[in-house]
């Protein structure tokens, strides 16, 4: 036990090291060269830009738009996808018919459809929600369906012996069994929802982090681009830790 805790301490101590190395290298590479600063910006410039964008409220309002689009798309896509995937358990025939479509939908590079989605839904936030929805929906259907069909036969046999109705078996065995799969879908979907919203904004938008990054890179404002990218990473980490929290609550029996 003692060794494990020592190892943990070392790991925690070493965590910031790669980041510090990167920042140091970046600093010395850009500190004395206007040309390098133009192409790569510099830690100081990025920090100042971050302070400026935060003070003006620009960063927060753009981040809020992107998070809103991604979150709505994520919730709608994951919930409806999981419901559809689970309901396929009810009919073997429907499930068999649906299976090649689920596989095919999983293979579509959804973001290649982004330009069409923007034509359909306009350049407002609806098209970004739609992109996040489609990307997350496909994953949720596939995962929930897998969860529903991989129920151990011994549980189904027990329910049969206990004279359970199909609906009771669904509620008592199939849904809880799929929970691990649905939570996995949620983990994948956080990244996909943010990516969907971002790509929508990247192609055409009025606001959001994607728009901020496109506009900045158009004017070679590298510092703003970096601030936008870091903001996306932070948002993604925060949302992932939310799902981790949910997982720990729902899958308490696994610990």
């Amino acid at each position: 036990m003692k060794q494990v805790s020592l190892e943990n301490k070392i790991v925690w101590f070493l965590y910031p090291l790669p980041l510090l190395c990167l920042l140091t290298a970046w600093y010395f590479y850009t500190v004395d060269s206007k040309e390098h600063q133009f192409i790569f910006s510099s830690p100081a410039q990025v920090w100042q830009t971050f302070l400026r964008l935060s003070a003006s409220g620009e960063l927060l309002s753009n981040a809020a738009v992107t998070v809103f689009e991604a979150a709505i798309g994520f919730i709608l896509g994951t919930v409806s996808g999981a419901c559809l995937g689970l309901s396929l358990w009810a009919s073997r025939i429907v499930a068999r018919v649906a299976k090649p479509y689920i596989v095919a939908a999983g293979a579509i590079p959804i973001f290649a459809l982004a330009p069409i989605i923007i034509v359909w839904f306009g350049i407002g936030i609806v098209s970004k929600i739609a992109l996040a929805f489609i990307a997350t929906f496909v994953v949720a259907v596939g995962q929930a369906y897998q969860g529903a069909v991989t129920v151990d036969a011994k549980y189904l046999r027990l329910m049969q012996v206990f004279g359970a109705t199909k609906m009771q078996t669904f509620r008592t065995v199939v849904v809880p069994n799929s929970l691990i799969w649905v939570i996995n879908a949620m983990k994948l979907n956080i990244g996909l929802a943010l990516l969907g919203a971002f790509i929508g904004e990247f192609i055409s938008a009025e606001q959001g982090l994607g728009k901020m990054i496109v506009r900045a890179s158009g004017t070679y404002d590298m510092a703003t681009v970096y601030v936008g990218v870091v903001a996306l990473v932070v948002i993604s980490l925060l949302l992932t830790s939310l799902v981790d929290l949910l997982e720990r609550r729902l899958l308490r029996w696994k610990q």
């Binding site: 011994k154 549980y155 049969q160 206990f162 004279g163 008592t172 809880p176 029996w253």
Partner: protein
């Protein structure tokens, strides 16, 4: 139906065959079996002779192609309890919630189950706080005890057991056999045990049946032992006699399997 009084199970002229890739497999043909209330019988036989299929037919998990199966109280949904080799406790439910499963599905079982639960836990030497644990936290023997209690709380007329003790270590097995035997006799329930273990069959049965390759019973032994404590019964001379007789009858089936 006064002539059925005391009869827990009556199987007559039962036939069943799987058809897989145009081959008939695991056949039961023209099988008859009667089990009285309070009677514990064991079925021995070579692997794949149809023992488990017979239990599945009695439990209603399979439909027979011919013959009849009459279970006392057969009109009720909970006529049969079934305990498998591997427990089927739902891993995401606590032991308590697993034990309440039958009552959740059938509300009329609820009231009596809550009071019976504590007695059952005591009979199987389980502490009361086990209900808060998850199945993953229990040993194999404890999980199988919980499975047995789960089936008993369903209050079946007839209990089917498909090698429920075979995955346990020897001492756990002896103890569980003893606990199960005592409880079944106290409740005067009927039970059918499918097993490969001749010792186990003799130790806890009133009758041992041998199933042959044709899916019929080829031997029947009434086991009448004075000593029934599973820890001690195996040392008695009567036990050795039964073992010898049953093994002689079973040997021909096993030899057939090997050839």
């Amino acid at each position: 139906m006064s002539n059925d009084l005391g009869q827990a199970l009556s199987v007559s002229a039962l036939s069943f065959a799987y058809v897989k890739e145009q081959k008939r497999q695991s056949i039961i043909s023209d099988l008859n079996l009667d089990v009285r209330q309070g009677e514990l019988i064991s079925i021995l036989g070579a692997s794949g002779c149809g023992k488990t299929t017979l239990l599945n037919l009695i439990a209603g998990l399979l439909e027979p192609q011919a013959g009849t199966i009459k279970i006392a109280g057969g009109h009720k949904h909970n006529a049969v309890g079934y305990i498998f080799q591997e427990d089927a406790l739902l891993p995401w439910r606590t032991v308590g919630h697993n034990l309440r499963l039958a009552a959740e599905l059938h509300h009329h079982l609820k009231a009596s189950n809550e009071t019976n639960l504590q007695d059952y836990l005591k009979s199987f030497h389980l502490s009361a706080d086990i209900v808060k644990k998850y199945p993953g936290e229990l040993s194999g023997g404890m999980r199988q005890r919980v499975s047995i209690i789960q089936s008993l709380l369903f209050r079946p007329e007839l209990i089917l057991l498909d090698e429920p003790f075979s995955a346990l270590d020897f001492y756990t097995k002896l103890r569980l056999e003893s606990e199960f035997y005592t409880l079944i006799k106290k409740q005067n329930k009927a039970a059918i045990l499918v097993t490969h273990d001749i010792d186990e069959a003799i130790a806890i049965s009133d009758r041992v049946l041998i199933m042959d390759r044709e899916g019929k019973f080829s031997g029947e032994f009434i086991v009448d032992l004075k000593e029934r404590e599973p820890e001690d019964v195996r040392g008695t001379p009567e036990f050795a006699t039964y073992f010898h007789q049953i093994w002689s009858a079973l040997k021909s089936n096993i030899a057939y399997e090997a050839s």
